[in-house]
């Protein structure tokens, strides 16, 4: 199960009506502020981020 924090959370988004890219982003569940983004195979803020082609 995922945590459901009142704060920063990591989500995968899909730009369905635009570039059709999936990407990972951080969103604040209270303010809806977003920050950072990365290709989907790299977890934001994770030290174990995998390098993929």
């Amino acid at each position: 199960m995922r945590d459901n924090p009142a704060g920063w959370t990591v989500e995968t988004w899909y730009c369905r009506a635009g570039c059709r890219r999936y990407f990972v982003i951080e969103r604040h569940t209270v303010t809806n502020e977003v920050r950072g983004s990365a290709p989907p195979w790299r977890q934001l803020g994770s030290d174990t981020a995998m390098e993929r082609p």
């Binding site: 995968t12 899909y14 369905r16 059709r20 890219r21 999936y22 809806n32 290709p39 989907p40 195979w41 993929r52 082609p53």
Partner: protein, 945 residues
Amino acid sequence: MTNRLPRQPEEIIDRSVILDFTFDGHRYHGYPGDTIASALMASGVRVLSRSYKYHRPRGVMTATYLDPGATVQVGDEPNVRGAHRRLEAGMEVSSQNRWPSLNFDVLSANDLIGRFLTAGFYYKTFIKPRRLWPWYDSVLSRFAAGGKVSPVTPHGYYDKRYAHPDVLVAGGGPAGMSAAIAAADAGAAVMLVEEEYDLGGALRYDPAARFVLADLRREVGSRTGIEVLTNSVVTGRYDENWVAVVQRGLPGIEERLIKARAKTLVVAPGLIERPYVFAGNDLPGVMLSTAVRRLINLWAVKPGTWAVVMTANESGDAAIADLEQAEVQIRHVADARQGAGLTRVGGTRRGVTWAELTDGQRIDCDLVVTATGWTTPTSLLNMAGDRPVYDPTSARFFPSRLPDNVLVTGSVAGDGTTEQLLAHAAATGREAARRADLLRRAWQVQRPWAATPTKADPPPPIDIPPLPRQPHPELFRAATHGMVDFNEDVSSKDIFAAHAEAYDSVELVKRYTTVTMGPNQGKLETVNAVAVLAEARGEPISLVGTTVWRPPYAPITLGALGGRPSGPVRYSPMQPWHEANRAVPLVAGQWIRPDHYGDPQSEVINVRSKVGVIDVTPLGKLDLRGPDVPHLLNLLYVNKWSKLDVGGVRYGVMCAEDGVVMDDGVTGRLGPEHYLMTTTSSGAATVWGWVENWLQTEHPEWQIHVTPVTTSYASMNVAGPLSRLLLHRVVEGIDLSAEAFPYMAVRQGKVAGVECFMWRIGFTGELSYEIHVPAGYGLHVWESLFAAGADLGIGAFGVEAQRIMRLEKGHFIVGQDTDALTQGFSAGLDWLIKLDKDDFAGKPELTWQQSREFVHLVGLQPAEASLVPAEASQIVENGSDIVGRITSSRFSPTLNRSICLAVVAPHLAAPGTRVTVQLPDRTRIEATVMEHHAHFDPEGTRLRG
């Protein structure tokens, strides 16, 4: 009888034009500018409706959009706000909630037994025994509120618009106008939204404010930076100031939803006058001071003859002056600031006839006016996260904490002289423009490529002078009980009763009594409800709290939410031929397809006996290239793909990760690293997103390129025993013999001179070829087939004939025979699902499903061959236990009997089981579960021929 006054200085009616209309069949007239309610009142009509629960007579009370007594039916439009809707010539107005007539209403007996119909009455009374629920339902629906919805009402045109104002001002009163002017002068693009038909708010019916109002209107009108929307209302505020505006009264448009993304929102709705709670407070003739002022000054309507006024503020005092000027006799003024007040009023079903004061005096009258305080409409502030705070000194709520992009001004923010309020509003407007400018600058930093010249330095914050708060006595309820919620017929007694039954929180009281849950959603009644509950609890209002106002602030039609009826529409390149051949259209998502060409049953027979052709262009098509495509297919489909040779085609089903059937289709291998995947017509976009999801998030290392090519190809399926003979005449470069081009193979060549690829598959169960050609040649190839096949009896067939034939063959349709819970094995895919594959989407769930009992999709034939049970008819046993349903049913011209697919419980899935089907009219028929899904040619000899 007329109650129309001589010309009033600020009146908004045009007496040079007379508008005729009817109310409950009687003829009346009014003038342009009248509302339905003002025209009726001017004609001497006092009772406009019956109330929701007790069917009590009701008349004008607020003379605004919120008036709970003036809801009427206009023609076939129910629930029209009669005190807001402008009168039009020829309107057929009727009253609601009365039976058989407004003056004599049988159900008003409810009123007599009203002491039994208290809070929770329905919950307690109609709960046992359960078998009587249908009967309760049929009786209680008689009592339900509202007008009549006509099933044949034509659908009008509804519109949507997107807007990006710098500053959006909600409320076009003096504060809103002043804020808009200041914001526009600071360089902002302003949208000013006003619920009434004219700007001005309370100044419109204040003769003393004539010059101030004229100045403000002129200033607003002279600024190009202000877009004024009247008869429009801000109905919701969402994250980052996405502001929903409902715009009404546009020519040719029923209603428009404006989706505005405002950089800053200025909330300036003014105040809503609050009714006073006392016995008889809902009788026709009991009105608010602002209602009286509107009726006299805007519509020149004399609201009564003998008046009793209870006043606690300047609005009440001004109403007295207006009444005197209109030659209404003031029988008594009870000044609440001196401790005087009303105890109760009484009357007949035609309205109030007497009022009793706190000192025991009884006074004859036909008009009772109250001015006992205000409700702050904090809806938009609630939606911005604010929890307004009650100030007992001023007897109303004030905003507490707002985000930077929301500001308030006007009476919501405080009191003061007109000059003080206008100065506050102007400063607020300048500050709103400044914050919008800051936001624009921030966006420019993020988008340097879209730079517009930025002024050197951001201006400093504007100092907004605080507004004073004027003391006001706390007046909510007299010594008697009366209506709190006029929409829902909830009295103060009901709230006390709810409290006595331990519903002591305001949220519980709301749900138990339905107070504030009617059409006005608490705009008139919330504060009184809270105050009465506070009284019952013996605590101050601030400890009771309020319910939270949520969107929508004002009602919005489903039509406006749905938007334009004309979305994007797709046609195949063969559409001109379909139209010329009188195809009956079928709307299938964005596609318009031929449903049939007049007689689908004959189309079926023609395909089964000769040859037919169907336009299948809407099939979703994805071009897949790269060395890793087999990995992708193995991952997304439940069956195996590793051994598909070049020239081969395979059927596949995709399941979501919960094992639920998502899509199906065939994929063919056109070259060593080149595949074409087809999807269902409706699933094309979903499957594309699904493919991209797996490639981008889980397997970025796979070398696969995906191109959607649905509309790049025109696709047609040639089906029937003569299809090979027909294609011999038009195809070059492909050996069509059964040995060289077998079932489930793909070949490339030319058809009618056009490069194509075709595969042998068969949704219809016949020998058939699906041909894909570049879209631009679609019509040419289609017409060439017809020219070449005329002597063979070629005929076009549509979606309906195809649906009959696929049902004869027992092929399911995703979304028709499956639903959001249908996992793979329930769809009869045991033969296809390969749980021995390494991994694929949905495998864990399907593995789990296989170990359990599950519902089955089965072929079903009714005993009575001519009877086609309606789709979604239920399969029942032991009386009324539901154990399945019909998912597809048609009459098969091939078998000359009705055939079905059905979902049944595990114990009914064995072939030969007899089941009972309940039809929509509750009659029951017998049917038999078949051995195969396919009713016709289960071995598939025809399509392999």
